[in-house]
């Protein structure tokens, strides 16, 4: 058993091994086991399964994260409005309570599954899996997962999606990338939302927000937009179109993609 699983002699039982020279590391009933796996490996396993679902049906999956009220649902409404003749969109909504956001999406004629997490302040791969099986993936090109409004935990959980998009609204202040590095480092694209408020909130410096993001070694595009006025929405739609195209190419080539940050981490951690 122990040759294959990598059990070790511990300082506590070493004397026993020496005592008779045998490879007797379970002699005092103790065994140290090297594991070196992620604390979230259960979740990561489920996430990989979710990703297979998306890929099998050639669906691009985008995880939207932000603090509460940064405008995720408003962005989805504007995106559906603009792309409904181009792509078939589905939405998974994560909130602590209420069906409000799913209802807003359904009102646009798009299927939406609401996950109410109760006390959990983030979505995990198991919750998303349950929601996936309520959607007809063959009838979709893009699935948006609107995560629970929270700048802390959602970044730690792989849901099986392909891209992380993080919103930062003008009213939150330009120092958020520096204050929430785990979240902003995880973003494949950062959207500065509610830019129609820039003239009102003079102290918000776009340059400072961009600088905070670059300090995190982020190469993510920083797109400015307002879901209210539609300003800047075009660049976001173009980014999405590029992602849908890339996803189709990947699936055609039998490849998949994890949000960059988690992939790097995994590679390094696999080396121990």
């Amino acid at each position: 058993m122990c040759d294959t699983c990598g059990c070790n002699v511990t300082p506590g039982n070493e004397h026993l091994v020496r005592a008779d020279g045998k490879h007797a590391h379970t002699a005092d009933g103790k065994a140290a086991v090297q594991v070196l796996s992620s604390l979230l490996s259960e979740n990561d396993h489920q996430a990989a399964h979710n990703r297979e679902h998306f890929d099998r049906h050639q669906v691009l999956s985008v995880n939207l994260m932000s603090s509460p009220g940064a405008g995720k649902t408003a962005l989805l409404e504007a995106t559906i409005e603009a792309l409904q003749d181009e792509y078939r969109i589905g939405v998974v909504e994560g909130d602590l309570e209420t069906e409000n956001d799913a209802e807003r999406i359904r009102a646009r004629g798009v299927p939406a599954i609401q996950i109410t997490t109760g006390s959990a302040c983030h979505l995990d791969a198991h919750m998303v899996h349950a929601a996936l099986h309520k959607l007809d993936l063959d009838a979709l090109d893009i699935i948006f997962i609107e995560n629970v409004g929270n700048l802390v935990c959602p970044a730690s959980f792989d849901l099986g999606h392909h891209r992380n998009v993080t919103l930062l609204s003008i009213t939150e202040g330009d120092d958020k990338p520096a204050k929430y590095p785990v979240m902003f480092r995880a973003a494949d694209a950062v959207l500065l939302s509610k830019t129609d408020l820039l003239p009102v909130i003079e102290e918000f410096s776009v340059a400072r927000a961009a600088n905070g993001l670059r300090n995190l070694a982020s190469r993510a595009p920083l797109l400015q937009l307002s879901s209210k006025t539609g300003a800047g929405i075009g660049a976001w739609l173009d980014w999405l179109r590029g992602e849908v195209r890339d996803q189709r190419q990947r699936v055609g080539a039998g490849e998949t993609l994890k949000p960059a940050i988690q992939q790097d981490g995994l590679k390094l951690h696999a080396q121990g």
Binding site: A27, L36, S41, V182
Partner: protein, 139 residues
């Protein structure tokens, strides 16, 4: 907070490994946690104290190794220390860096008690050594 969820994931894993090794008890759990993992250590320790009750790890000591933040620069090739919200190259200042360490959230190792009969008694543990080896070889 999500530390409780992380902790439950940890305990699921520990329980499975302990079971695979036919362990009666887990004495020590070693983790490596980086500042960029999103895990707050005091919260994780607090969550662990709550969540371990009734599991095979209910008496286990949780030991955490901190991981330093290190980045590798793609521009100049240097590997340098960095801070949680400043991951630039320490040599040339460029932002084209990759994290080498600092976002770890790893279960490193476990110390399992696979035979409790000889607990605290060295003499009996010598006697039991053969039996436990026999037991091991039949597994």
């Amino acid at each position: 907070m999500h530390e409780l969820a992380v902790c439950q994931g940890l305990l699921d894993q520990v329980t499975r490994i302990a079971h695979e090794h036919a362990a009666q008890r887990v004495d020590r759990i070693v983790l490596r946690i980086g500042p960029l993992s999103g895990i707050e250590l005091p919260l994780l320790e607090q969550a662990f104290t709550l969540a371990r009750a009734g599991t095979v790890a209910q008496d286990a000591e949780l030991h955490t190794e901190a991981a330093a933040i290190r980045v590798h620069c793609e521009t100049c090739g240097a590997e340098t220390d960095a801070q949680i919200n400043r991951l630039l190259c320490g040599e040339c200042g460029d932002y084209h860096t990759r994290l080498v360490s600092g976002d770890e959230m790893l279960l490193v190792s476990l110390e399992l008690v696979t035979d409790e009969r000889d607990k605290g008694n060295k003499d009996s543990s010598f006697k039991i050594q053969d039996t436990s080896n026999e037991k091991t070889s039949t597994l």
